[in-house]
């Protein structure tokens, strides 16, 4: 685990004061970052990284298939799923947040997809896994993975967000980086069979059936009610994720995909679908995943993940490398449909500019936005604001609080503010 040797990189000239800050801020982060700074002080002849040929240009590299299932570069190991200390007490009923601060585009690498388990995860033998579809059907059936994977499949890109994402920030700023504020969020291409096809195959009672219950095979036997209109619209019983099978932490070999709906309904290790005519009001529907309102009532079945966005670069816990040009970039998504527009402000919401949406703007999927910004070295507050194709505009935290108070835990889709200090340090703040 020796520190990886880092090629020296060019760093923009910075005023002495800022350079001193940056040295202090990042030199502590390891020799690699420090050497990047040192690259700024190149010799009279030029950059040693160019003038002195490195070993990889003058030697023989490694053979094919030396790592049969490839791994990220050794230089990328800082980007890991991480727990938020103190958030949960038991690692089997906890969350590991995805490192959004280091991701590009809209697809979450399978190994960085966020984790949320209710009673620990398992690596289940797919040959022994079964899915049962029963209840209000003419013919209750059992499917093996062989059966399911013979059926006509679909592949669709969708985001999944835990209903409690950003839940720590209802009252005040509580965590430092976008990994912890927004990292219960991922977006993958899922492959599977539409649940409607299985219901048809079992002859479900289309007249009287109004809901299905999805149940996991893990110890928690997690159960959630899904309304029939969603099931018939776009719910999928999925085994594939980003071109490979689901990872065990994400429900291998079978999970629900319920586009636009909070993650808890995407039941993992799916073993049973029951068709019924009323909601089940399970534990995850009457004790958890309920939103406490100021009048003391809990909202039940709050499911839709409304339009939301966040700037991932620059974001909290980072330091800018001096004045000059930056590509402000982030993610936007809506559980109600497609992202229509994202606006970015660098002055705390007083003035806004419309960002560029990168290609692949898909319904109920992450959408990448970007906007060029030249930092003049002064203080700034960066915000992004998503608008979806229903016309809904992402709200400010004070607008959410005015209706829902500060204790609802779930469905905080507020505009996120990142303060850029004159030192270049970026921090999580609330401003509206």
């Amino acid at each position: 685990m020796s520190a990886p040797r880092q090629p020296a990189g060019r760093v923009r000239p910075a005023p002495e004061q800022r350079r001193a800050f940056l040295r202090k801020a990042i030199a502590l982060g390891g020799g690699a970052a420090a050497s990047a700074l040192a690259g700024g002080a190149r010799g009279a002849q030029g950059d040693p990284a160019i003038l002195k040929l490195p070993a990889h240009s003058t030697g023989l590299g490694k053979p094919v298939a030396s790592d049969g299932y490839g791994s990220p570069s050794q230089y990328e190991r800082n980007l890991q799923r991480r727990e938020s200390p103190g958030l949960t007490r038991v690692p089997q009923a906890s969350v590991a947040f995805a490192p959004l601060q280091g991701m590009f585009g809209i697809i979450t690498p399978s190994g960085l997809h966020f984790e949320r388990h209710h009673q620990g995860w398992w690596d289940i033998d797919p040959a022994q896994h079964r899915l049962m579809v029963m209840g209000m059907v003419k013919n209750p059936k059992v499917y093996t993975m062989d059966d399911l994977m013979r059926l006509p499949s679909v592949s669709r890109i969708h985001f999944i967000e835990c209903g409690a994402n950003t839940g720590m920030e209802w009252g005040n700023v509580a965590v430092p980086t976008v990994q912890y504020t927004h990292g219960m969020l991922s977006c993958c291409e899922f492959t599977g069979v539409p649940l409607s096809a299985l219901l048809d195959d079992c002859g479900f009672d289309s007249k009287n059936a109004k809901f299905v219950l999805a149940e996991g095979a893990d110890g928690s036997g997690l159960t959630r009610t899904i309304s029939m209109d969603r099931v018939l619209d776009d719910a999928i019983v999925a085994w594939g994720m980003n071109g490979e099978m689901l990872r065990p932490e994400n429900g291998y070999p079978l999970r629900m995909v319920v586009p636009g709906v909070q993650g808890v309904s995407w039941v993992k290790w799916l073993r049973r679908i029951e068709v019924g005519d009323q909601p089940w009001q399970t534990r995850e529907e009457v004790m958890h995943y309920i939103d406490l309102m100021p009048d003391g009532l809990h909202r039940q079945y709050s499911s839709i993940q409304e339009a939301k966005s966040v700037i991932t670069t620059p974001s909290g816990g980072q330091a800018l490398l001096g004045k000059g040009f930056y590509n402000v970039t982030g993610l936007a998504w809506s559980g109600r449909g497609r992202i229509k527009r994202v606006d970015v402000s660098v002055d705390g919401g007083r003035n806004w500019r419309t960002a560029r949406l990168e290609t692949l703007v898909l319904p109920k999927a992450l959408t990448r936005f970007s906007l060029g910004w030249t930092w003049d070295g002064g203080p700034a507050i960066l915000q992004s604001r998503a608008i979806d194709d229903t016309g809904y505009v992402q709200p400010k935290i004070n607008q959410l609080r005015a209706v829902r108070g500060t204790r609802s835990i779930y469905h905080n889709n507020a505009i996120q503010s990142w303060k850029v200090a004159e030192s270049g340090e970026v921090s999580n703040v609330q401003a509206y």
Binding site: A25, A33, R89, P140, G203, Q278, W280, M287, W352, Q430
Partner: protein, 333 residues
């Protein structure tokens, strides 16, 4: 021909249902025994509830043996899971609304939130005990549920819960009328409850920074420099490092060792007491924590992290205690 055979076969296997033939030979009819084995859910109308019964007394015995180590003897423990009982009263039982949900300082227990007794039965049956789910018999589940209900004084001590009287118990749940579905977040066509406008220029803003991370919480999530890529337009900020530890903080660490703190507290692991990093995380947004924790070190404390008490430390000077608290809240680097 094959299709016809398959149809006839499937029809013969299925229990009087018309078989579908769109995907011949994919999947098969579930047997009654298979459905019985997996169809364990209990609905609010108690469809799916097995017959049986269990007493509060019997539930107490099971609780002591299988539940109390995590949940506490009276379901009050907050050390592993959130408390189960507490926060409800007789008036709530009459009205069906938990009044203490209106108190911001009140933590939420299971019984304060629970609106359906069916869910309690279903959950204990499918997911408990924590490390051996689905091992309780139906009568044991009835007994444990009866014991929990008695903790909330919803049923008396001599109560025997059964499939015959559980519907009556539902009518006494403190928060049975505490749920609402009058919001736009379930129906795909539901209307949003909070609206913003897309002002673009000279918009009205408050302008103040109303909240930011307290300085002592900077290190509560570890060294952020080690959570960011080594190249690109930004770097992670170093919030904890050897260099920081060689500043006066390391003197405090020596003080912590000398004072005996580290005999019971690991820096990042739970020993007898909570990890120092966990303490920093727990109080990261609590501006008044410094004074409170100083008093706890001096006078001793019990209950914040579980039943094991921390003894008083009258031998440590007050200045040193304050330094220790600041060091702990700052990440114990």
């Amino acid at each position: 021909m094959y299709k016809l055979t398959s149809l006839v076969l499937a029809a013969a296997l299925s229990t009087g249902a018309a078989a579908q033939d769109k995907y011949p030979n994919v999947g098969r009819t579930a047997t009654p025994a298979e459905i019985k084995a997996w169809d364990i859910d209990v609905r609010p109308d108690f469809k799916g509830l097995p017959r049986g019964s269990g007493s509060v007394k019997n539930g107490e015995d099971i609780w002591e043996a299988k539940c109390a180590s995590c949940h506490g003897t009276f379901g009050e423990s907050n050390s592993v899971f959130a408390p189960i009982a507490g926060g409800t009263n007789r008036s709530d039982i009459e009205k069906g609304r938990t009044a203490s949900l209106l108190k911001p300082e009140q933590g939420r227990t299971t019984l304060m939130k629970l609106s359906q007794v069916s869910a309690l039965w279903d959950y204990v049956n499918r997911a408990m005990p924590w490390n051996a789910p689905k091992t309780l018999t139906p009568n044991e589940v009835y007994a444990v549920v009866a014991f929990i209900l008695n903790l909330g004084e919803i049923v008396p001590e001599d109560f025997v819960l059964s499939d015959a009287n559980i519907a009556e118990v539902q009518k006494r749940l403190p928060n049975r009328n505490g749920m609402t579905r009058a919001h736009g977040l379930w129906d795909p066509k539901g209307r949003p409850d909070v609206n913003n406008t897309a002002c673009m220029k000279d918009c009205t803003i408050d302008g103040r920074i109303v909240s930011q991370l307290p300085h002592y919480a900077r290190a509560a999530h570890g060294n952020l420099a080690e959570q960011h890529r080594l190249v690109g337009p930004v770097r992670g900020i170093a919030t904890r490092s050897d260099a920081v530890a060689s500043t006066p903080a390391s003197t405090t660490r020596t003080l912590a060792e000398k004072s005996g703190c580290l005999a019971c507290h690991g820096i990042s692991t739970k020993v007898l007491g909570p990890a120092l990093h966990d303490i920093a995380a727990k109080y990261k947004t609590d501006g008044a924590a410094e004074a409170r924790l100083a008093a706890k070190i001096k006078d001793g404390s019990q209950g914040a992290w579980g039943p094991v008490p921390m003894p008083p430390h009258t031998h440590i000077a007050e200045d040193d205690i304050r330094a220790l608290v600041r060091w702990i809240l700052g990440g114990a680097g």
